[in-house]
């Protein structure tokens, strides 16, 4: 199922549409005693799919920047490839992993219409929104959510 989740994640990174119901059905198959990382991956994917479908254009753009940033950080540690800021807009998993870790500013570059100050608070806003959605999906699919999703709740 990991490869299936990554497949949907790549589609989302490239701006392709992903059916929420299809992902939800797959996630529903995951058992309650699955590893925490597995459950976290499902609820994160479902939250991203939902937010990309329901969010404002600005939220969608910031969410994609957030995905780019987190995937690049989670991948290889060394920076291997120079960045094409506009090329990042269509970058999938393979490109992001080849590039290596990028900064929030770089991840946000495709969203910036003018050269101005970087919206660092956008990352926090997206995280807060995602956290709330992840909690909701966890409750729906696996019961009581972990502490990290509930503490300091909104």
């Amino acid at each position: 199922m990991r490869e299936e989740r990554l497949f949907y994640l790549d589609m989302l990174l490239r701006g392709e549409e992903v059916g929420l119901e299809r992902v939800r059905q797959l996630a529903a198959k995951a058992s309650a005693d699955a590893p925490e990382e597995e459950k976290a991956a499902w609820v994160f994917l479902l939250s991203v799919v939902e937010l990309l479908r329901t969010g404002t254009p600005s939220q969608r753009c910031h969410l994609q920047a957030y995905l780019r940033y987190q995937i690049s950080q989670a991948g290889r540690r060394q920076r291997r490839k120079p960045i094409d800021p506009q090329g990042l807009k269509q970058a999938g998993l393979d490109e992001l992993l080849a590039i290596g870790p990028i900064t929030w500013e770089e991840a946000l570059e495709p969203c910036r219409k003018t050269r101005g100050s970087v919206d660092y608070s956008a990352k926090q806003r997206i995280e807060a929104r995602l956290k709330e959605m992840c909690r909701r999906w966890w409750e729906k699919l696996f019961g009581a959510p972990p502490k990290v999703l509930t503490e300091g709740g909104e």
Partner: protein, 274 residues
């Protein structure tokens, strides 16, 4: 809070992107199609998902990508055209001979020929074309000249044969007087053979610039009755269309009018027109 949640996400994604065992791997063809952007979106994402969790395929993918990039760079360098200022500079600084060379070079480039060889080939081709055009022309001119020469020779021979026994006037003769015609007639009457007499008369008339038109048939004649005030000249002008032909009328009627006198009511012979 934010850092905890971020840790939660990173942990989940690290788990997702960690290497895993795969039963099958993408073919070289599929990798190349992916690199050239020839895969459908879902296939491209399937490939990306595999590459994210398969370090071997990911390395292979990266090496292929670098090779393709290098190939593109080489092609771009080879195909790079000179900038406009550079072209203008070359054009300004080029000497005429260089321009010819560059022109030849541009012509020969598609055929991969050296300019010197191309120049020689062009010169030979031009010579062949020139010879091909001039030889037939010269041949034609020569043929025409020889035919004209032959024509002149045959004409000379014809003239010589015609002039044998005839006096070809070398100047514009004046018409004979009536006395001269009288002498001529007397001389003609001394010739018994009619053929020789005719030749004699024709020759002498020719010496006076008088030729018998082919339109007149001297063998068939009609009778004309002389009217008051008629002269040989007026009759010739009215009946034959040429005043100069009065000598013909006189010679035809010399028996009836030996002195050449005309009187009204007198009948004379006039040649018919053919």
């Amino acid at each position: 809070m934010s850092q905890d949640f971020e840790g939660f996400i990173r942990k989940a994604l690290s788990h997702e992107l960690s290497p895993m065992e795969h039963k099958a791997h993408p073919s070289l063809d599929l990798l190349l199609k992916g690199l050239s952007g020839d895969l459908a979106p879902d296939m491209r994402s399937r490939l990306a998902a595999h590459l994210a969790t398969c370090p071997q395929c990911f390395d292979r993918w990266r090496k292929l990508e670098e090779l393709l990039k290098e190939e593109e760079r080489v092609l771009e360098t080879k195909a790079k055209a000179a900038s406009l200022p550079e072209l203008l500079r070359q054009r300004e600084g080029a000497k005429p001979i260089n321009r010819v060379r560059s022109w030849l070079g541009s012509i020969t480039a598609p055929f991969r020929l050296r300019p010197a060889f191309a120049f020689s080939a062009a010169a030979i081709a031009a010579l062949i074309i020139a010879l091909g055009v001039t030889i037939p022309l010269l041949k034609g001119t020569n043929a025409r000249l020889s035919s004209l020469t032959q024509e002149v020779v045959s004409l000379k021979e014809e003239i010589a044969s015609l002039s044998a026994g005839f006096a070809i006037p070398s100047h514009i003769p004046s018409p004979p007087s009536r006395e001269e015609l009288g002498c001529l007639v007397k001389e003609a009457q001394g010739i018994d053979d009619p053929w020789q007499r005719s030749l004699f008369l024709a020759s002498r008339l020719s010496s006076f610039g008088i030729t018998i038109p082919a339109s007149l048939d001297l063998k068939s004649t009609r009778t004309y009755t002389v009217k008051p005030h008629d002269t040989w000249e007026t009759i010739a002008e009215r009946e034959l269309g040429d005043k100069a032909l009065w000598t013909i009328l006189y010679l035809l009627n010399v028996k009836e009018s030996p002195k050449g006198e005309l009187s009204p009511g007198q009948e004379i012979k006039i040649p018919e027109k053919r």
